[in-house]
Symmetry: C2
Subunit: 339 residues, 2 copies
DNA sequence: GTGAAAGCGCTAACAT
DNA sequence: ATGTTAGCGCTTTCAC
């Protein structure tokens, strides 16, 4: 049974190498002129002790933690999972660690997370959570960018061209012969671009829209029940569905299977997102793919630029920080067998 | 244009409240006796300044960061996404933040992440990455628990009862009339419990096994090509597949669709995992559900217990720290329409 | 009940 | 080319 030694620190290394702590620090950070002898001895002491610089101390001194807070609804949904994986990878390449927060769609949770991240002195925040009106965002001095959702005019927003995606999906359904396509989405509102695209195409075609809303945080089996109930209600009229996410498309397909109708002949379905995981699971699904990688890489670039320029985001939307228009990235149609 | 003020600190609050920093600290930490007047004045100063304690400084002093490193292959796959979401939630309830690392199946990445986490002085690590022989784990003094994979005898491991799951899936296929079920898995080995279950049942039935391996980190479209090729190769013999994850089951179903065979009459498929996301996307899939929540909650409990007891894991497998048997949790069959 | 001083582990400024 | 000093923001003795 060995005694429990504490982690070695800089001064332990210094002592062992017979130099001052400063010198060790210099070796570690490749700063200033050091004799090769010194470098070697320090390097050896480091190896022997298994020394590893304490980043907490460095952060305290350097005023930066090299940590980014990432706030998303939940990585258990493949879209957000893929987003977070992509963000984490990109951040890592730039030397930043990812502090993950799953708000689960609860606004209080998001506020709480935000407060914690500020306390942890993260260098920046990437938010894709789906709550509006979290006042702290607008007033924090920390660099923030958002994915998908818009937070405030002066906070950079990166997202797919949702309106074009909604149009693309709906046009496809009509082209393929659908007479009455319904929309299934998580939240219906004027700010829902996919819904706007759907409505625009139907308006042009003179077809009345049918919109059903089921929040994706609704727990099972309630969620499936709601979707099936909505479909049952319109079973006589509709012959196609544009679902604004692929999971909902799957749930709709299950309902169609239950009715015995043939897909795509008698009923057509188009999804949205086109994540890698869902492409693997349901390759037959026709869907609109979001350029997740492009979106995430751009968001990371923008955030890091703001951080490294020391550009704070300003004390609020009206303190002179310029509004930035959202960056929208083109979607692509993934042809499957359901439309 | 307001000037750019730095974050307020304890001494700012103290000054504003007309007390010493020590007193503010006491108010913050509810320690010792404070007059109500003092408490109120400090509280007010905190609000007015928007003060938020610097956790970095606290960590440096307190020797704990309240951060846990979570290393997984990638949260873009729903199983790991659900695991990470569950872990993060459980950790958060206990006051711990989650530092996310996606190793993407690369061993060097995992070693690198591990080193970083140690540098960040996380209080513990939960690892579910799929690389063997990362030596640092065994020798670190930090509490570690693993999910799914076994790392070393003295590191607690939490996982589904994979052998029972493999048996369950294979038995179901045979019961339903399959004559020649093949196995599709990510890595074939004697330590693959699902494979062991499959092989055991087939051995009992006197049926020769057919095992195909496609690493789930294989990029598309290569991965799909490999799976389809393996299926083509055995197309004449096999009439069922047990896929050790649901995404592969989906890819197999697509191949079956392409051959025109009917599911489940002419071809049966059983998956594995049964994540919430995939249940939504493919409710028709017959699969074996892992008790993800149980696994994760137990892992978190075990880790936090070790942390809070100050029980380090020891300097290695042979320094006297007791070996712990893996904790296995029962799986359940989810009846769908594919078997 | 409250304050002054020391120090967590590190690095930057200022020596020499 | 290397050492000394001070201090990042906080909490914890110890004093009063």
């Amino acid at each position: 049974m060995t005694r429990q030694p504490r982690e070695p620190r800089l001064s332990d290394v210094a002592e062992r190498a017979g130099v001052s702590p400063t010198t060790v620090s210099r070796v570690l950070n490749h700063r200033g002129y050091l004799s090769q002898t010194t470098k070697d001895r320090v390097a050896q002491a480091i190896t022997e002790l298994g020394y590893r610089p304490n980043q907490v101390a460095r952060s305290l001194l350097g005023q930066r933690t090299n940590m980014i807070g990432v706030i998303m609804p939940t990585v258990s949904l493949p879209f957000f999972g893929e987003v977070v994986a992509t963000l984490e990878h990109a951040l890592g390449r730039h030397g930043y660690r990812t502090l993950l927060c799953n708000s689960m769609g609860r606004a209080e949770a998001e506020s709480e997370y935000l407060a914690q991240l500020l306390g942890n002195r993260v260098d920046g925040i990437i938010s894709g959570a789906h709550n509006d009106s979290i006042p702290t965002y607008a007033t924090t001095r920390l660099p923030v960018v958002t994915i998908d959702r818009e937070l405030a005019p002066h906070i950079p927003n990166f997202r797919a061209d949702n309106v074009a995606g909604g149009r693309l999906a709906t046009e496809l359904l009509l082209e393929r012969g659908a007479r009455r396509p319904a929309l299934f989405t998580s939240r219906s509102s004027a700010r829902n671009g996919r819904e706007r695209g759907y409505r625009a195409v139907l308006a042009d075609a003179g077809i009345p829209p049918i919109v059903s809303t089921v929040e994706f945080h609704t727990p099972e089996p309630e969620r499936t029940r709601l979707i099936h109930a909505a479909l049952d209600q319109h079973a006589g009229e509709i012959d196609a569905v544009f679902a604004t996410d692929d999971l909902t498309a799957g749930t709709v397909l299950e309902w169609v299977r239950g009715t015995g109708r043939r897909v795509p002949e008698a009923f057509k379905v188009v999804g949205f997102d086109g994540t890698e995981a869902i492409r693997r699971a349901m390759p037959w699904l026709t869907t609109v793919r979001q350029p997740i990688e492009q979106i995430c890489l751009s968001a990371v670039d923008a955030l890091l630029e703001r951080i490294e320029q020391g550009v704070p985001q300003g004390g609020g939307p009206d303190d002179g920080s310029a509004p930035v228009p959202p960056m929208e990235f083109p979607v692509t149609l993934v042809e499957g067998a359901t439309a």
